[in-house]
Chain length 334, copies 3
């Protein structure tokens, strides 16, 4: 959407160095920007690309303004400011209210008049869909769910049953919310399923990635607090509790009854096991799994970066011979 | 469903200490239980919650009965007994027989009169659907499949082709059964696809989690035996064979042609590679991958718990300097 | 499809030792083959099964021909030759052109007359579907996508928006292409979503596995070059670039802006992080993650095979005591 630099500066209260009547109509990287692009400089790693940018304007810190060959929008947090401006320049699509002819809505469901229900979507008994919600094509929302205003389910999302979702949440395709937890009791004849009768409660402003699964509680609910961001292919087991504004990258896993604090960050393929409680502001590095209650904020890790395989194999062989090495040192000490 | 303690005790043949006419109408944890709740005490870790429970009745061991302030149902295996009773108190939903107007059934398919086929579901050529089966909304069952009695596909499940499933199996949303195995032959011009012409055979009483994928065999079938339980986001490659009553937690992966025994347990993000055979009763810990034939039952592991990142980095640096340490010890020994 | 050995030999230009009029009508393993089966011997590990095979014919190297009790088709690359012949013997199913009555096609979309659009499929605005493409049941292709000729989407695939796909690509169920990248900017009040405005460009002859997700670019496109093969449950983040003919096994993850060269191979549960660039012809072993720019072709690893848990625990304990061991050796050296 074409928007002038003057309007951007006014809307977001930031200083403009340049012509307020120039308009931007898209976003781009510093190197690929055209004369209609808004771009940004947030990390020093990209400073060298600034002098040659062809953008209409760059969002950047005051200290970088002198090196900017085009208009500059000044912000102490240029990445955040860019994010907000980009949402205005490249607005999310809008959807006409109404229910598509191929969608199926249970008689006892209530769908807000302003909501959009797309082709092949299915909405179950006693479920309510809030104002301006967008239920994308192929999405199934089962019985006894409450969907807040302005939520969007892109396509082929499955909300199983007994799920409550706040406002402005975004669900990417293949996300599954409210599937049965993995509850099984062993007998001599095999496993007996433990009925999973809890629900899922999701706050507002939550985003859930493609093909991520969040199980319902066994008893009581699985809880995702406000502002949580979850990437693709993440597993959240029954009765997990994720604190507000925690961010979880792809392929993470959280075992049953884990409690995670606020503002935590989990890098890809990390997670937590053993029913533990993790305090606020914990960062877990890629491929690293917390196994004990964690009461100190900070960064945690247990991963080894990949190395050339031959060198790695030797290293593993040495690791295996540590017992002998300890014994040899003991012998030497005697 | 309201049910009296007397009926529960009679149905499951366990001793009741308390009033047989009291009814329960739901399940809860010890701490959240109300006067209509059934709950249980299975682990000593929760014993301290017993004296203050407000439940109608607690399933517990005889040794815990004295400390129980409410009615008690006595069992040597309280978790199993609770699971069975909960299935009666909170029965699975029932579905009216019939095919929804928006579902599509191939002419050559045969669907039992007692089966339920939900909105937007699709059933392919020559496929048969057994008695009382429930094909949930958005589920696609492709051609040449045989689905046993009382199976349920919650929603948006994909059964690709040539899949045979026994009775009473449960498939959570996003599960994919019978997708092509990852078979590629390298040529100087790139990969040539190796046709994946096998099927998948699944026994009875199997449960498959959300967004789990089980590939068809390249030649011959991929096999999942009776009573297997598979959690979310698990990958089962072509020609894998999983023995009866094995349980597999989320994010596990099994490479092609792996054979796993009966009653094994794989914790989250574990698995097996290298076409190996694993005997019965093997337990693999989280993040640990079996790489060799395994003939001894027991517990296997190769994971490092996450530690504070600074301490971990030092530890990794020491690990990298092991070669030098071995050399120094050798020098000292001379 | 019945086909004579003579026709196979002629079509693929390979020597036949045996009766050209014998027909094959399926494929099988050496041990399970019947008198109508085509099979192959590629690895010495299976040589012992050759003398007793009941196959109609075996694709094998000239050196193995003498030991073959049935007809032999000679090739220097028997696995590749088998793959090509199997595609003829077991051809992919064909689909009648046309759009199913329950499918939904946007008015502004253009679907080739020869394409097949199955039940409950949905195709969005301004999207074009190429000749002979097969859009399987429940598949959703969003707006502004270009789908090349002869592509096939098996079932329940989600192509979100702004995705360009070449010819002859194959997408397995649950695959999600073009979902938003995981872009969030931290503020004191929580995360602000960074609009993900790029697309995805996929070359020709690409195969994408079940429940794999490929995010759109934040700015600019995520790129998958020709001939790439991706297995199930893989995560490809925004702005990743995967070079031609690279193969990626199940449960791998690639963090944002990773650039991977041509002909690389990633084993299960491996990947790359930190915005790195990886050269051509790199092989990464299972559970191993590249963390730095990689300029040397070859094999990389950082995984520990699972061991009996008790022995492993001792090993980990020794690893934790390495600091002390280094100190003790230093003391001895003084």
């Amino acid at each position: 959407m074409p928007i002038s630099l003057g309007e951007l500066a006014t809307t977001f209260g930031c200083e403009l160095i340049g012509d307020p009547d120039v308009t931007v109509n898209g976003v781009a990287s510093l190197t690929n920007a055209s004369s209609e692009s808004l771009t940004f400089l947030s990390s020093a790693a990209y400073s060298s690309q600034l002098p040659s940018t062809k953008a209409a304007a760059v969002v950047l810190r005051a200290a970088d303004a002198d090196a900017c060959p085009v208009s500059a929008l000044i912000s102490d947090s240029p990445y955040v400011m860019y994010a907000r401006m980009a949402a205005l320049v490249c607005p999310a699509p809008t959807f006409a209210p109404g229910v598509h002819a191929t969608a199926t809505i249970a008689e006892s469901a209530r769908v807000a008049d302003s909501a959009h229900v797309a082709a092949s979507a299915v909405i179950g008994d006693r479920t309510t869909i809030g104002e301006n919600a967008v239920v994308g094509p192929g999405t199934v929302i089962g019985p006894d769910c409450t969907i807040g205003d302005n939520c969007r389910f892109i396509a082929n999302v499955s909300i199983v049953k007994n799920v409550t979702i706040g406002a402005r949440c975004l669900f990417h395709p293949g996300a599954v919310i409210g599937s049965d937890g993995f509850g099984n009791a062993m007998t001599p004849e095999g496993w007996v399923k433990v009925p999973q009768v809890g629900g899922v409660r999701i706050g507002s402003d939550v985003e859930i990635g493609a093909n991520t699964s969040i199980d319902c509680g066994a008893i009581g609910d699985t809880v995702i607090e406000d502002g949580v961001r979850i990437d693709n292919l993440v597993h959240i087991a029954h009765n997990v509790h994720i604190g507000a504004h925690t961010a979880i990258a792809a392929l993470c896993g959280f075992a049953g009854s884990t409690t995670i604090g606020k503002r935590c960050m989990f890098a890809g393929n990390s997670g937590a096991v053993n029913h533990i409680t993790v305090c606020d502001d914990v960062i877990v590095m890629s491929q690293s799994v917390l196994t004990k209650d964690t009461t100190t904020p900070g960064v945690y890790s247990s991963s080894f970066p990949a190395k050339p395989a031959r060198a790695w194999a030797k290293q593993v062989a040495r690791f295996r011979r540590l017992e002998g090495l300890f014994a040899r040192v003991k012998r030497l000490e005697k």
